[in-house]
C-alpha cells in the first residue's frame, strides 16, 4: 500500500454483507458531523460514471472475476483520485464504507491472483483505522433477508456455482470472505468488532476508539 502522509485521517469499515458495517459508519458519521467536524463519506462502488456499467454488468450477469475486479478498481480509482485523496490532503476525516480490503477478499475468493489484485490497488493509502465487523453468517443472512425478500446474485456468489440455492451459496461464499478478512487482520491492523452484539453497544465501542485515536478538535469546521 502507498505510504503517504496526509493532513486528514482515513477510517474504513469492512465486513461481509449483512455484518452491519454500513449502519455503524452512518452512526459514526452522524456523531462526527454533530460535533461540526470536517467529514467526508464515500461508499464502495458509487462513482457515477462507472456505476452504470457495473449495474448493467450485474443485471445482465456479464461479469467475470477479472472484469468484476477491474470495474470495481475503476470505480475506486475515480473516487480515490477525485475525492478521497484531495479530501485527505485538505485535512478531512474521510469515512469509507468498504475499502481496498473488500477487493482483496472478494476478488481472490473469486479466483483472481492475490498479487495481481494487491498491485492493482497499490496506489491506495493504508487507513488510519480499519474496523472489521465480524458477525456469524446466520446473523448476517438474517439481517439481509429482514430488509428484502431475496439475496442478490453476486452477493450470494452465484457466479461461482458453489451451491444450487442462493442462501447456501451465500453462506459458503461469504464464509470464505470472512476467513480471508480474519487472515489479513494482523497484516493490515484491523480492529475487530463483535458484530453479533446490539447496534448501540458496537457504536459506543467504535466512537470510543475513534475518540481515543484521533484528536477530533483538529478537524473542527471553520466558524
Amino acid at each position: 500500500m502507498a505510504k503517504t502522509e496526509f493532513k486528514g485521517k482515513l477510517i474504513a469499515v469492512e465486513g461481509v454483507d449483512g455484518s452491519g458495517k454500513s449502519t455503524q459508519i452512518q452512526l459514526l458519521r452522524r456523531w462526527l458531523e454533530s460535533q461540526r467536524l470536517k467529514v467526508f463519506f464515500s461508499q464502495w462502488n458509487s462513482s457515477e460514471l462507472v456505476k452504470s456499467a457495473t449495474s448493467k454488468g450485474k443485471k445482465k450477469e456479464l461479469l467475470t472475476p477479472t472484469t468484476f475486479s477491474l470495474i470495481h478498481a475503476t470505480d475506486f480509482a475515480d473516487r480515490y483520485d477525485r475525492q478521497l485523496a484531495p479530501m485527505l490532503k485538505a485535512g478531512y476525516i474521510v469515512l469509507c464504507d468498504r475499502y481496498v480490503f473488500t477487493a482483496y477478499v472478494r476478488d481472490t475468493v473469486r479466483g483472481c491472483d492475490p498479487d495481481w489484485v494487491h498491485e492493482l490497488y497499490s496506489f491506495a493509502v493504508k487507513p488510519d483505522l480499519t474496523f472489521l465487523f465480524k458477525a456469524d453468517l446466520e446473523v448476517s443472512l438474517g439481517r439481509i433477508l429482514s430488509g428484502r425478500p431475496e439475496l442478490k446474485f453476486f452477493e450470494a456468489g452465484m457466479d461461482l456455482h458453489l451451491a444450487p440455492t442462493r442462501e447456501e451459496s451465500f453462506k459458503i461464499f461469504q464464509g470464505r470472505m470472512l476467513e480471508k478478512y480474519v487472515e489479513m487482520k494482523d497484516e493490515f491492523g484491523f480492529t475487530v468488532i463483535d458484530a453479533n452484539g446490539s447496534i448501540e453497544k458496537q457504536q459506543s465501542e467504535v466512537r470510543k476508539l475513534v475518540a481515543s485515536q484521533l484528536d477530533l478538535s483538529r478537524f473542527a469546521l471553520p466558524k
Binding site: 456479464l62 477479472t66 472484469t67 477491474l70 475503476t74
Partner: protein, 278 residues
C-alpha cells in the same frame, strides 16, 4: 527483463507441435467456406499469459491463432486487417475481429467518460483495461477455443504506451496487463509522423483530441501537440518492443506492399513451424 528472456528461451525448447484440423467449426454465417474442410494447420501447444492471466482458463485449449496489428491512427491498421480477413477467410480460416472500446460491458460508459474529460489517468487506464478484459474473456478466448483466427485491431501495447506516456507507474501497468494472453504474432505498423498527419487530414480533416494528447498540455497548438504526442508514443512503443518483441513493419509503403509483407509473415506462422521445431 532478464528472467523473462530466459523463460522465453526455455519455452521455445519445450515447444511441441500437434496437428489440428480446423475448418470443421467454421461459423454458421460463413457457410460458403464450408467446402474448405480438412485444412491442415500446425499449432503450438505451449501458450501463456503475460502474468496473472485469467482465472480458470486452460491455455492449452486455445487452439486458434491470435494476430495483433498495432500502430497509431492513420497507420493503416483497419485497411490491413480487412485485407488479411479477406485473404484468410478466402483460404478457409474462420476469423473474428476485436478492437479497443468495443466491449458490451463498458464501451458506452468509456465514451461518455472520454467526452466528459474529467477522469484521472488512472481511472481511464482501468476503464480501458476493463474493456480489454471483457473482450478477452467474451470474444478472444472463446474464439481461440473454437480454433478461429482472431485479428486484434490494437491490443494491450497501445494501452500500455498511452499509460506510460501519461506517467503511470511501469510496474503497475505491467501487472495490470498481466491478464493478457501472449499473441502468436504482433505487427507494429510504423509510419512517420508526417505521413500520419497527412493520412489523418485526408480522412477527417481534423485531429482527434486524445490522439493528439491534448489532455497532457504538451502544446496549445493541436498540430504541434499531435506531433509531440505521437513522438512520445513511438518512444514508448520502442521500449515495449524490446520486451514484447513485435515485428515492426515499415508502413510508409503502399497498401499492397504492406499487405504482401503481412501476408508473408502470417503464412509463416501458419505453416512454417515445423522447421523451427527441427
Amino acid at each position: 527483463m532478464k528472467t523473462r528472456k530466459k523463460s522465453v528461451k526455455k519455452l521455445i525448447g519445450k515447444r511441441s507441435l500437434t496437428r489440428k484440423v480446423v475448418g470443421q467449426k467454421l461459423s454458421r454465417d460463413r457457410e460458403k467456406y464450408a467446402s474448405y474442410t480438412n485444412i491442415q494447420l500446425l499449432t503450438e501447444t505451449e501458450r501463456k499469459f503475460y502474468g496473472a492471466g485469467i482465472p480458470g482458463v486452460d491455455v492449452n485449449t486455445l487452439k486458434g491463432k491470435l494476430i495483433v496489428v498495432e500502430g497509431a491512427d492513420g497507420s493503416g491498421r483497419s485497411t490491413q486487417i480487412a485485407k488479411l480477413v479477406d485473404w484468410l477467410e478466402g483460404s478457409g480460416h474462420a476469423t473474428v475481429q476485436v478492437g479497443l472500446k468495443r466491449s458490451t460491458l463498458v464501451s458506452e460508459e468509456l465514451q461518455l467518460a472520454k467526452n466528459s474529460n474529467r477522469l484521472s489517468h488512472r481511472t481511464m487506464s482501468l476503464f480501458y483495461a476493463t474493456d480489454f478484459a471483457d473482450q478477452l474473456e467474451n470474444v478472444i478466448l472463446p474464439a481461440l477455443r473454437a480454433g478461429r483466427m482472431v485479428l486484434a485491431d490494437r491490443y494491450i501495447y497501445t494501452l500500455m504506451a498511452r499509460d506510460l506516456v501519461r506517467g503511470m507507474n511501469p510496474e503497475w501497468v505491467k501487472n495490470l496487463y498481466g491478464i493478457a494472453l501472449e499473441p502468436d504474432a504482433v505487427f507494429y505498423l510504423n509510419v512517420s509522423t508526417e505521413k500520419l498527419i497527412e493520412r489523418n487530414f485526408l480522412k477527417s480533416h481534423s485531429l482527434d483530441y486524445w490522439e493528439s494528447g491534448m489532455d497532457l498540455g504538451l502544446s496549445q497548438d493541436w498540430f504541434e501537440s499531435f506531433s509531440k504526442f505521437q513522438q512520445l508514443m513511438m518512444e514508448k512503443y520502442r521500449e515495449l518492443q524490446k520486451v514484447y518483441h513485435f515485428t515492426i513493419v515499415d508502413a510508409n509503403h503502399s497498401v499492397e506492399v504492406v499487405h504482401a509483407i503481412l501476408k508473408k509473415e502470417v503464412q509463416k506462422l501458419l505453416s512454417n513451424k515445423k522447421t523451427t521445431h527441427n
